[in-house]
Amino acid sequence: MNTTAAPLLDVAGLTLKIGGSGRTVVNDVSFQVFPGEIVGIVGESGSGKTLAARAVMGFIPPAVRLEGGTIRFDGQDVMAMSGKDLRAMRGSKVGMVFQEPMTSLNPSMLIGRQLDEGLALHRKLDAAQRRALILDMLKRVGLRDPEGALTAYPHQFSGGMRQRIMLASVMLLKPALLLADEPTTALDAVVQRDVMELMVELTQANHTAVLLISHDLGMVARYCSRIVVMCQGDVVEQGKAEDILARPQHPYTRKLLSAMPHRLPARLLPQAKTPIVAVRDLVVEYPGRQGFFRKEQAKRALHGISIDVQPGEVVAVVGGSGSGKTTLGQSIAGLVKPAGGEIRFNGKPIARSDAAYWDYRLNCQMVFQDPYSSLDPRMTIGQLVGEPLRLVPDLGPAQKKARVAEVLAEVGLSDGFAERYPHELSGGQRQRVAIARAIVRRPNFVIADEPVSALDVTVRAQVLELFDELQKKHGFSCLFISHDLGVVEQVADRVIVMQDGRIVEEGPRDDIFDNPQHPYTQKLLAAVPGLESTGEGGVRLFWRRAENDASIVG
């Protein structure tokens, strides 16, 4: 990279404020992107990273006011551009890939037409030439049948394929700069890596610079040559990727790095005679659509799953989307009726007697993924946490109140939180409430379905720490469902890998992570880079599977 050349994008002193309240959302932000370079902006939600990047395109939401600073693209001031020049720049010189592949393509337009739109607008080519270009590009992004794709609609493709198509439509115009706003966040780990790799390959081939916006430090560190770290509207640190990882200067960068999940030493659990929860040959089927005249075949989501969870053990279930891991959690929790199989609690089958069922019901609790939808918006925190106690026999109102206060203190929400409503709380606080609600009855078994996936990196670290603390204190067993291998590596005693409704591999955590046997486990592990602490606050990036290192050069 030739850093002496003029920067392609030069943002200097950019300051954005919210019109009404005057709150500064982007404060004196300066960074540069040179031709052909990949620059990452990392930050948590509310850091202003998306706003700063969108300002480059001249997309500033109506409520946001430009206070100061300049954005120069290729020497031209973006803020001073006329509407016509701005439109000419968008698409043809600056492309953008969005986070959500499900909504960034127009669902009522054929893929061929959508890809043609930009070309027809910005390039003087005839229809046959455009078609040839489009076909060539679709082939390059890895579509098996480019001809067929031209006359297909977006809903006929999976999320990963749509993101490839989106990438194709942007790269068709060979822009000088590509803005990628969390391009792979909505995708599966395995697909994520493929799409990122494709993006890097395509942009390098066209000498396109990339501004990658992400909350995922591992991914940014992996693909970017330079990193800009943002926190609450400020750039706190920027520099070469290696330098930032190895020698972070700003406390916030250090906090971000230390928040990355890390493996803790393996625990020794006493082997009990009977597992607390034993699942035998669990089969779940989703009925097909039933119309008045036809009946579709039922879809089998789980093919005979058997799991034992020992007392005090944390068992992680990992797998891509569609692997059936969520269905497994829901059927064990009793939300989905299994078509076959048996669940035993403390050695007693729960389906056989009411007493065993209620024993299980009171002892099995669940923490859900989305803290925004798992709390009833019309109840206060105190009511929410106290609700499970309603079904506990022999507990007076005073005792209930004391228990709620105790549990809220345990999750760090003691000061007056009981009177508040969920919408007054942040995502991390809400998830603490959800955890408090799950443990208020002192259950023996907790199912956690992606409990930290919706949270920011540093909040996630705090919630995981809290969860770990509570688990040790109360000794409940846990079925921890997650797609995030980093998190699983930190919390799990034992790991179960699922694919297509079947268990493909299971074993102690260290065995699975260090010596995976099944190809799918190997693929999963290969998809996500790990970060390893080097001591003195820095980290080192490594791939979990050595044989992959040869195939990618960053």
């Binding site: 099995c364 669940m366 993924q369 939808s373 918006p377």
Partner: protein, 290 residues
Amino acid sequence: MSSDSTLGTGASVKKARRMKPPAPNAIVGGTLIGILLLAAGTGALWTPYDPLKLSFREKLAAPSALHWLGTDEFGRDVLSRLMAGAATSVWISILTVTLAVVMGTTIGLFSGYMRGWTDRIIMAFNDALLAFPGILLALGLLAVVGANKYGIIVALGIAYTPSVARVVRGTVLSLREREFIAASRVMGNSEGFTMARHILPNCIAPLTVLATSMFGYVLLAESALSFLGLGVPPPAPTWGNMLAGSRPYIGQAVWLGIFPGLCISLTLLGINLLGDAVRDRLDPRMRGSR
């Protein structure tokens, strides 16, 4: 009914209300409805003249200091009759809306929560009822139950039930996929408790908006039925039968038609403005707090 009492209760709503000044449509709508309620309340207890008292000496008198809005063909005071009519109309509308909301909510909750065949059968019946215009349905029902005050309430209440059922069912369907419903079931709560504790309270916002706008429709429908001679039988005054009665005299006593018509129009305007304001006020909160 001021703008405040139509909103849901709870500290969060109070807080939201404190933060934002009322919108212009809330002020205008609230004022109009306030006047209506004041007139109806007063009209039920006291009117300047007896609304039923005939006085042939003063028949078809133009508005004057004595009779502010004039008198009708039997010399009855129009203002007194409008006030008494407001009391009748508002009372009928409130009872009708309550009836429709209670029946519709029960059906909608049941149907949305049960799903499957129960839902399909109830909704097929519901949709068949929705296919008829409300007023036509009410006309048919009135023929069965008889044209009097309570007949109107029953007929209009049944006619407006399907739309409430639809709205409640839709809300229930989206609510029951939310994780807090799953959380309630994992806790071991019964289906009935989950419905009452978690689903019903969350239906209040859309129901409030629907009930507000329905109040206006019912008032209009009641007037229309009375105009057609199927409403509250004379001599009891309602806005609809006053409007109907003014028709032969439109050339000589224009105030007979104008004032009841104006009352109906202004009330509908007020209701619609207020309904808009209530919806604007409730929507962002629902989105913000998710």
